[in-house]
Symmetry: C2
Subunit: 255 residues, 2 copies
Amino acid sequence: MTQKIIKPLRKRMSLTAELIEQLRSQILSGELAPGDKLPTEQELVNSADVSRTVVREAVAALKADGLVITRQGVGAFVAENAGQDSFRIRPEELATLEEIINVLELRMAVEIEMAGAAAQRRTQSHIDDMHAALETFDNCIAEGVDASGADFQLHNAIAAAADNPQFVRFLNFLGSHLIPPHDLLMKYDIGQPGTSESDRQASLLQEVQLEHKAMVQAIEAGDPQAARKAARRHLANSVERHRKAFHMRQQLATS
Amino acid sequence: MTQKIIKPLRKRMSLTAELIEQLRSQILSGELAPGDKLPTEQELVNSADVSRTVVREAVAALKADGLVITRQGVGAFVAENAGQDSFRIRPEELATLEEIINVLELRMAVEIEMAGAAAQRRTQSHIDDMHAALETFDNCIAEGVDASGADFQLHNAIAAAADNPQFVRFLNFLGSHLIPPHDLLMKYDIGQPGTSESDRQASLLQEVQLEHKAMVQAIEAGDPQAARKAARRHLANSVERHRKAFHMRQQLATS
DNA sequence: GAAATATATCTTGTCAGATATATGATGACA
DNA sequence: TGTCATCATATATCTGACAAGATATATTTC
């Protein structure tokens, strides 16, 4: 079962990608400050020992990223607000647990405030949706099937009640970069009914569901402060689950 | 004073930029769905009537944007999570007050949580920085000069204490898209000493400073809950100032 | 006939050389 | 001194070619 782990095998990036990476890091590190002139295409061709095509594609990519601007006949320059044009998280920036938790804190901040806003703006229709999601979650626990769908459903109902599309957009963005801890925890536990592992998992879900109900109750009552408090507790536990999942994954990778 | 406004004057974009624009809109509109294969370079060359250089640079830009991926010998494809790779706010999305407030709420969420984190993680050095910023702010009020620099200084000290670079990155990103209300309010009021306007402005700054001191006090005391509460009050007022500034700008624009 | 192998062909990746165009500096000239 | 033509330089674009990966097709081999 100790399957041979293939070595890192950093598959050779394309020349263009390599050049992009070099230039980007020089810009982000401040080695090339905003306003500085990049080497001319010819100089880059010589120093990187690649063709002009590669250089031009790399510069075009950085230009699309908003990191540099070019002026015909003059040269290429580091943009004044380099990198502030868009907020992005690169997968390679999520290598350590600390980095992941930093992003989770960001998500937590927004989710908490979203719960508060939902408490102030929810309509009856939103509340109905939340209750439906809670019920689905309950059923999933009882039947021992994956409940992440119901979790998502509840999340969406709250997001809709908050009535701020920027919240939704940002959380969707973050969500696409974070591995939901459910995926890791549930995959290995569900499907073994009767085992103590499965029982433990069920009770954990029960706990999660209690957190959910506290949130919905506060939102329904129109109490933003209580909603934020409930959301904070729920999310703090979620971070904890992420932490465990990360360690689990590390163990699997090194065993 | 009604300076002649120059007409749009659509400066001719580069061929590459035009091609990027076309492809991007086709992707974002869903005309080219995730997983779809883009036309081959040769087809693009023919249909757009440009050289392969232009096509390759355009594709390289989209690749950098995370909208497409290419596989040598196979083709270029629309990325699965096209557009979810980065979070960006286009200036044209901040036209109405409602849209601005949505973004401000996002910022508020992060700033509040950042204040809470700062209360948990601050060191003496951070506290010293905050006090220095407060003092500078006091001096600015006394001398009647622009205090936005001191405001920024305090903000940075808190951000540093929170010890989460993602907070800083995200707030910097948002900050570059939002016009600080100080700029609008102070510009027109400062510099007219003795007037009632100036007096009112000074008392407003005094109020702001009181909010600042409450935040720093809570952070210094290591009380996250109090820090968040103080930050919330401060930021809620800040949103209010934004609201006023927006109306002021609208008035100026239509007068 | 089926499987393994070789080939053809299509696509992207890279290279080299050339022309076109925008910009800034230089120097002639009034 | 100020204006303008000229020139050098750098990016923008075009063209043609070859390399390398991927896939379909033909060929060989058993």
